[in-house]
């Protein structure tokens, strides 16, 4: 190979650089998202079981949105037959830390550096929901 030695040496250096972050973090445990402790009665269940909500809350919220806005069905009857008002306020009535008082329009509970419910996981997962660009945050639900 023409100039084979240099090419192979360069490749080794390149691969070393590429895998540097991997070796750097090797053996260190992933702390995971900083889960919030939020003000809700511990015995109450979310609109559906927690495992379902963790995996599917985004699909449920989309269904809620279409049901309320487009079909005019503003009541959700869950798998246990319990009824809930379809509104983000239903969510943030429980899912709020109340640690940071959010001012609507100034401080965004889902995006900014607050310790609100959504932001703790969503920052970790680098997912930016746009809900709070229009909807009011937990402050409104707890008034």
């Amino acid at each position: 190979m023409y100039k084979g030695g240099r090419i192979i040496a360069s490749l080794i250096i390149f691969v070393a650089f590429l895998t540097l972050p991997f070796f750097f973090n090797l053996g260190k445990a992933n702390a995971g998202p900083d889960l919030p402790t939020y003000a809700s009665s511990s015995d109450s269940q979310c609109v559906e079981p927690a495992a379902y909500m963790k995996a599917n809350h985004m699909q449920l919220l989309l269904k809620w949105r279409d049901s309320d806005v487009r079909d005019g069905n503003s009541v959700y009857i869950n798998s246990q037959g319990k009824s809930f008002d379809i509104s983000l306020e239903t969510c943030v009535q429980c899912h709020t830390t109340q640690a940071t008082k959010n001012t609507v329009g100034v401080n965004n509970p889902a995006l900014n550096t607050s310790d609100q419910f959504c932001v703790s996981c969503h920052n970790y997962a680098s997912v930016k929901p746009t809900c709070w660009n229009c909807h009011s945050g937990p402050e409104g639900a707890t008034k």
């Binding site: 559906e48 379902y52 995996a55 599917n56 699909q59 269904k63 949105r65 049901s67 806005v69 487009r70 079909d71 005019g72 069905n73 503003s74 009541v75 959700y76 009857i77 869950n78 798998s79 246990q80 037959g81 009824s83 008002d85 379809i86 306020e89 609507v104 329009g105 660009n133 229009c134 909807h135 009011s136 402050e139 409104g140 639900a141 008034k143």
Partner: protein, 267 residues
């Protein structure tokens, strides 16, 4: 190492079968279980229902500037309507305008000069044949079964076709971020973002809670709201017994907002 056609087809077939089979296997292993079968959706029990919501504007009840202001303010405050302070960016749900802008093109010869000088209360007409709904490419504006032309702000992409299609100028576009320009944000109703069109929605969110539209409550009888298809409703009785006009009927959009000109001391 060239291959002939037979070999090529055979190999392509094997790869295809592997690919399809693989996706079945992966789906089988991961096991989809995201359906909560027993859940359902229902309309709220206290909500007001109708076949065709319609409004009558009783011109005799709108005399002073305060009559208009009070009604407009009731809408502005609960729907988080911004005030940009310049007419180019203005967001209008319900507003006041003069005769020429309201009834242009359909001059009725029997209307007195007096009538032509009146200011009028104007909002979205919630047409039976809404041109804005036809123009909307995403279905963000849609007609509900109860006759209300509703907005789904989530779906609006800000193309503004609806603004061009609406002959009544009932739609406004958020050229700027409205939040800093809202006097006091009502947390019960969402604000909008830049690039979204908005308009009067006959307070669908209040109807679902069993309440009349905010402007109707604030108008002290100047605005009458009800089911046009119900022969016993107040709106139907007024429309079938007294003289009412609608805006730009020559366009065939069939507005659901009627202007009562025979009542009181006008006309």
């Amino acid at each position: 190492m060239s291959i002939n056609r037979r070999q090529f087809l055979r190999r392509a077939g094997v790869v295809t079968a592997l690919g399809l089979g693989g996706s079945f296997v992966i789906n089988g292993i991961s096991g989809k279980k995201d359906v909560v079968a027993a859940s359902e959706y229902a309309p709220s029990t206290q909500g007001l229902k109708a076949n065709h919501w319609a409004m009558v504007v009783d011109m005799s009840k709108f005399k002073t500037e305060d009559d208009f202001k009070r009604v407009i303010e009731s809408c502005v405050s609960i729907h988080n309507i911004p005030d940009f302070g310049n007419p180019k960016d203005e967001i209008k749900w319900i507003w006041e305008d003069d005769y020429e802008h309201t009834f242009s093109g359909g001059d009725n010869e029997y209307l007195t000069e007096d009538f032509k000088k009146l200011p009028f209360m104007i909002m979205c007409n919630h047409c039976e044949n809404p041109p804005c709904v036809k123009a909307c490419p995403t279905g963000a504006t849609f007609k509900r079964p109860d006759g209300i032309v509703d907005m789904d702000f989530h779906r609006c992409i800000g193309c503004r076709f609806c603004m061009g299609a609406c002959p009544f100028g009932a739609r406004s576009f958020n050229y700027r971020d409205p939040r800093p320009f809202i006097k006091k944000i009502d947390t019960d109703y969402p604000t909008r973002t830049p690039g979204v069109v908005e308009k009067c929605i006959f307070c669908v969110e209040r109807l679902a809670d069993g309440l009349m539209p905010a402007c109707v409550e604030a108008s002290k009888g100047g605005l009458i709201f009800g089911d046009l298809d119900d022969p016993n409703s107040e709106v139907r009785k007024i429309i079938s017994t007294q003289y009412t006009v609608r805006r730009k009927t020559e366009l065939g959009t069939q507005p659901s907002v009627y202007y009562l000109v025979g009542g009181g001391d006008h006309a």
